[in-house]
């Protein structure tokens, strides 16, 4: 096994073991953090399939997260207020809906977006995502701007997602399955064509591959996985708002992928972890400085509101100076 495989295994074991240990030792908050991180990592891994391996810089991935979450929230809403059947709380129905809706959305928008290249592709993927955002905002029934509270979580036989540990378990297993799936796809014959098209599209076409279709299929797979992650996210937050699907969230997902290392299997997971933990640490330490300033000098500055500033700077430094993101740091020692 290569060093990279070892590190991937070690990281995944740590992610499996640490959160439950925190939970059992009375730090439930860290389990929550880990669950959020794991779910966003699934979305990041799916984005990496098209962004990292396909070279398709999609700036609209949050739409899939949002659609997936509403696929849980909307049936649950009608179950509660309109008394439709219990199927509306069934987890398989939720996931089926999430995947069906997001893959259809990916197929239709992808067919159009993939006709463009470069900056145009970035802009048009973002435009489609914003379209969904405004669509949801306009639907008063589901809370519009204010968002929608999910009153009941998805129901699976033998699984209770109201129990934080079980929800984490589902997210973790899903992440592992998605990582294996994406790893399989990128190493398959299909994946070779996808990566070749990223490196040199014209050459791949003149070899005899209709790269448009390959990219579209990857786009749909990526969207469906992100939709699934969205369904999990809805179960985790038990609240969805259109904000979850605006361009900022799409940008954050892109950052996670680039920060961790594009076109690697573990990269997006490390990127999500670094992103979520860094955010937490910065807010905490700024709050600490805030209290300190208040206590000693009597200055009341809400420093923690400005955590984005050092956060953004750090991200920019890493992206600029560490080629290949965090995985680049790990791999550098290999050669």
């Amino acid at each position: 096994m290569t060093r990279k495989t070892w590190i991937t295994l070690a990281a995944m074991v740590a992610l499996a073991v640490l959160p439950p240990v925190f939970y059992w030792t009375g730090n439930a908050f860290y389990l929550d953090l880990a669950t959020r991180l794991t779910i966003l990592a699934i979305a990041a891994v799916s984005l990496n399939l098209i962004l990292g391996y396909g070279g398709l810089i999609s700036f609209g991935h949050a739409a899939y997260l949002g659609l997936g979450a509403y696929a849980v929230g909307i049936p649950a809403y009608h179950w509660l207020y309109d008394g439709i059947g219990d199927w509306a709380t069934n987890g398989f129905v939720h996931i089926g809906l999430a995947v069906a809706i997001t893959s259809t959305f990916a197929l239709i928008t992808g067919a159009i977006c993939l006709r463009t290249r470069g900056v145009y592709f970035i802009m048009i993927t973002m435009a489609f995502a914003q379209m969904i955002y405004y669509l949801i905002v306009s639907i008063e029934t589901y809370g519009g701007d204010d968002g929608l509270v999910i009153d009941t979580r998805s129901e699976f036989p033998g699984l209770n997602l109201d129990k934080p540990l079980q929800l984490f378990g589902l997210a973790y297993v899903s992440l592992v399955v998605v990582m294996l799936l994406v790893n399989m796809i990128v190493n398959s014959r299909f994946g070779m064509v996808l990566q070749a098209a990223k490196g040199n599209n014209e050459r791949t076409v003149t070899l005899g591959f209709n790269t448009y279709i390959f990219q579209l299929v990857a786009y749909v797979i990526s969207g469906a996985i992100a939709g699934y992650a969205g369904a999990l996210l809805g179960n985790f937050t038990t609240f969805i708002s259109p904000e979850m699907m605006d361009w900022r969230t799409s940008g954050e997902l892109m950052f996670m992928v680039i920060l961790g290392g594009t076109a690697t299997i573990l990269g997006p997971v490390l990127g999500s972890a670094a992103f979520i933990l860094l955010e937490e640490i910065l807010v905490d330490s700024l709050t600490w400085v805030e209290h300190l300033l208040d206590g000693i000098l009597g200055m009341k500055i809400e420093l923690s509101n400005y955590w984005h500033l050092p956060f953004g700077l750090l991200l920019i430094i890493i992206v600029l100076y560490v080629r290949g993101g965090l995985m680049g740091l790990i791999n550098r020692k290999e050669d």
Binding site: N187, R189, T204, F209
Partner: protein
């Protein structure tokens, strides 16, 4: 016998420049047909129209008796046409073997397979390695394409063309930028291929062209001013004036 490739009345302009001017040309089965012509004569533009990357303004391209003028490039490749590039065009981030294996896969079909690992596919790997051995690059199979020299890249281009097992190879200046030793090696390689595949060869190196070609066409300002055997072309006064004369 019907021509494998038959081009009739092809025209293509870029703004005011006529890159292809009422061009008629054919490639017979098994033939090596060379095109010579000064810089900017429209040789690469012709290849791009033949492989489908550029659309002619008017005219028709028939391949194996079928009108392919409006067939998209990936379908033309599948019909049995392959091209190499004057300016090396490889997938630089991939390994040398992966580049060739991809070309093998293009012919093999079954690209919509998502499960089995392509690099462990013995059929792809063995054929790729055999092709690399044929062009003398077996020792570099695991290196990234970007790490190879210009001459080696030219050989990779040929290995990719060979991998396709295409009936018609469109080779755009395979000797471009090669030293004299490397050119000799390339001529030897092409001699080995000749006859097994029909070839439309674009080349500036006159010695190579006269050593390899069955027929030669001379392209000047997008128009073919002469077509004939190497001897015909050598003794053609119009050609000498327009082209060969400048060299001498």
């Amino acid at each position: 016998m019907a021509a494998l490739l038959d081009i009739s009345g092809l025209n293509k302009s870029f703004g005011g420049i006529k890159a292809t001017d009422d061009l008629n040309l054919s490639v017979e089965p098994g033939e090596l047909h060379a095109i010579i012509g000064p810089n900017g004569a429209g040789k690469t533009t012709l290849i791009s129209q033949l492989c489908g990357l550029q659309r002619p303004d008017t005219g028709a391209i028939r391949f194996k008796g079928r009108d392919v003028t409006h067939v998209p490039p990936h379908r033309r490749a599948r019909l049995g046409m392959t091209r190499s590039y004057q300016i090396t065009s490889l997938i630089m981030e991939m390994s040398v073997r992966d580049n060739i294996a991809l070309a093998v896969q293009a012919r093999d079909g079954h690209a919509f397979r998502f499960i089995a690992a392509a690099r462990k596919d013995r059929r792809l790997r063995e054929q790729a390695d055999a092709l690399l051995a044929r062009v003398g690059l077996q020792a570099k199979a695991d290196m990234k394409a970007v790490a190879l020299s210009h001459g080696e890249h030219r050989h990779m281009e040929i290995a990719i063309a060979l991998a396709s097992q295409a009936e018609l190879m469109l080779l755009d200046e395979p000797m471009a930028g090669l030293g004299s030793e490397e050119t000799k090696a390339m001529v030897k390689l092409l001699k080995g291929i000749k006859g097994k595949h029909s070839i439309l060869l674009i080349e500036h190196d006159m010695d190579a062209v006269f050593a390899l070609a069955d027929r030669i066409s001379v392209l000047v300002y997008g128009h073919i001013i002469a077509t004939g055997t190497p001897d015909d072309i050598r003794s053609n006064s119009a050609v000498q004036q327009a082209y060969l004369g400048e060299d001498a």
